[in-house]
Amino acid sequence: MSDLTKLTLKTALDGLASKSFSSVELTKAHVEAVESARVLNAFVLETPEQAIDMAKASDARRASGSAGPLDGAPLGIKDLFCTKGIRSTAGSKIIGKFIPTYESTITANLWRDGAVMLGKLNMDEFAMGSSNETSAWGPVVNPWRTRGGNAKLTPGGSSGGSASAVAAELCLGATATDTGGSIRQPASFTGTVGIKPTYGRCSRWGVVAFASSLDQAGPMARTVEDAAILLTSMAGHDPKDSTSLAVETPDFASFVGKSVKGLRIGVPKEYRVDNMPAEIDALWEQGIAWLKDAGCEIVEVSLPHTKYALPAYYIVAPAEASSNLARYDGMRYGLRVEGANLTDTYEKSRAEGFGAEVKRRIMIGAYVLSAGYYDAYYVKALKVRRRIADDFDQAFEKVDALLTPTAPSAAFSLGDRSDDPVAMYLNDIFTVTVNLAGLPGMSVPAGLDATGLPLGLQLIGRALDEGTLFSLGGALEKAADFRAKPQKWW
């Protein structure tokens, strides 16, 4: 395999700019890497011909002096993003043959800036899962293994394909989405960087909806700087998404490498949960020490409603999902299973098209929204959500950002937690609060556990203050000097 897949996005863009290699060469190297890594099941659709065509067009643009900020860089696209003329399935059988007739705003922004698409990435069905095991296309395998072990591990979810592809050097970066932790937890499990920006920073238009008040897209990459470069292209106001914020997109990469001296970092005491592995606690302490060394002031803060975030999420998200997924009725697009009458056709189509976890969540949603339970569950959860957001507001009066672990464990074996929904939901215990409050959160690889698996630390910022997160993420990355890579076995 060519060394061109070992480059970071930044060094690849520099190499393209200095004509050290062409986008066609760079893209071919990645197409080959994708083809040789099918055992990971990271891609659900490879688009090599399109990739080479896009690379040729990029080389032509560069020759004529009109190259964009991402020109010629091969990326992977989570299958939740609609791509015009290219099958987009959201990991579900119910739209398993869906060919969008439009392009999502985020992918359109990436193509505007010159990026090349390698294909569509596997994911949990409708982004509902934390291990990629709910995908209709089968689970993704993490390129990481325990030292000396050969058990297949989950890359996390729902953006498992994105995480696995970036970690295995199949693409220079990937799009992902995060409703409760689906960018940050997989980033932690695969030693990659992932940021969920402020709600409203990235347009949701053309992204298959799961829970609209929580869904937010973001990038996954191998370095903090690469994530910053990608987010700068992805973000921006979009009139086609009514919750898209009409704010300027800063050059996020300019924040990476900035001094973090004098920043106040909050350490929320409620994130010290029972049964957390001692290694994760120790890594958190290490992260605190690194930021202290970089000149930050550490402040203990309290987010008293933290433990209620997951239960509130498992009312709000399924309620929104049950409404959003009502559109899959087999009438205008998607799977139709003919029944005896209209209702029977609906019921059969949805029973056949949705997987078990999606059905479970739709039913929870229908239950908490049904007559007699709406106030007791749904409205109650929205009030708790407000309490959680208020906790953050109060903390951010005292601090500039928060530092926490990203996930309560390292990557686990495929099949390990698939029998117990609540045990699976607990993966998102440290990430879900951020979605409820609409804040930006980033996971940065910080170390390895005793078995050699990567662990991440999470930074949480004020709304629209991703810049500070990129500065802090850069400082953590530098201090951690995380260079470990998965040993190639695929």
Binding site: G200, D329, G330, M331, E338, K348, F354, M363, Y367
Partner: protein, 95 residues
């Protein structure tokens, strides 16, 4: 609050998902497990708290009431499970 088989049957109907009778009991168990874990929300004092319905601090924007795109039935129908001419074919709704 416990969810019995009758409730699961009703919710499955509301959600328009066919659930075979023999799966209802297991589903009731799963949903009960999830809902009893959620019950802890009752510990939170939410008196006088305004429900949070949006994560963005801005009023909903208004747009001009004009047609922006359309007039292309081929595009609209391109993923139709069943079509006839420029129409979707759906099961009979009115007897």
């Amino acid at each position: 609050m416990t969810i019995d088989v009758a409730t699961v049957r009703k919710v499955a109907r509301l959600a328009r998902i066919a659930q075979p009778e023999e799966t209802l009991e297991k589903l009731a168990g799963e949903l009960n497990g999830i809902m009893s874990w959620i019950e802890q929300l009752n510990e939170v004092d939410t008196d006088g708290v305004e429900p949070m319905t949006s994560a963005v601090h801005m009023p909903a924007p208004m747009r001009d009431d004009v047609v922006t795109e359309g007039g292309d039935p081929e595009v609209v129908l391109s993923n139709a499970p069943k079509r006839a001419g420029n129409f979707f074919v759906v099961p009979k709704v009115v007897e």
